[in-house]
Amino acid sequence: MRREKGFSLIEVLAALLILTLIITMSLAAFVERNKRLRQASEIILAYQALANEAEYRRRIDFAQLETSKPQFISDTKVLAPLEPFTTVVTVQKTKPAVKNVTMTVRWNGGTREAALSLMRVDTGGTNLW
């Protein structure tokens, strides 16, 4: 007598499990790729704000860097998609006439951040550039 044809429940479930595993792995890779693309776009937005802030921090008198506002002075409208976000500016004296100005943007509950450091040197002039 020939074998009855067709699939048993176990066979169907096992096939479904394998199919689900394959699709889930593909989906996970796809989601991760999209997440990274989004994060890269977020970083580009953040760096626009950081670069703008650097232009303002370049101009502040060397002696007044520490006492200047610890948040961004420049417009941060471009960061609207990252809301709520925070901006921080810290100044660190590394050498007698050198200060590091570090600007940081944090978003996504503080889990994501982008920072840009600007080295200011006391040239004794107007520090225009």
């Binding site: 067709g6 169907v12 479930l13 689900t20 989906l27 977020e42 937005l45 626009q48 225009l128 550039w129």
Partner: protein, 211 residues
Amino acid sequence: MVSPSSGLRPPSPRKRGEGQQGALVRCPSPRLRGEGGAKRRVRGRGYTLLEVVVSMAVFGMFLVILAMLTVEMRAQEKRLPVNFLRHPQVIVVVSKLRRDVQDAFGPAPYPESYGEYTQSPQTLIVQSHVKETGGVQTIVWDFRTPGEVKRRAYNVGVPTDWTSRGLPPDFSSFKIDAVGIPGRPYGVHITARDGKGRLAIDQILQPRAHE
């Protein structure tokens, strides 16, 4: 006979041959029947309701997860004005423009007009320093055509064109303003918005000191 443990349905009465017992039917074609008119056993077809329900439940759960992930992903994407990595031209345009402005040269780095061009929110004219020759070139950035940005550099009066096409179609035109930071030479403030009016580009570009 179909065993109960196999889970296969017995054949429907319609499929049973007249006068036949159980699943035994006479093959309709003599050719298929073989010599001596051998009888063929027809398999029971289909799944039980329980099997179908379990399989559909598993697949349904998977579909729900897939839908939830897609919705979440779309919502996250919609927050951003432009996918910069999908449209790298946007960044390339800003990078090239930044370099030109940083190299802006002379007491009047932004002439009011040059040739057929006039300084406007959609046109930037900048006199730029040419590092290689030490000379000055006039560069015109033309943002007047939606989805396209043209850079025309006049070096000793000879124009060289660079055009960026394929900017996001919903990207509204770039806008250029002068920006004044106290005590600094005038800079360029470039902005661009997406189709929904969200700010995608907002850059302050300042000339740099030259040797």
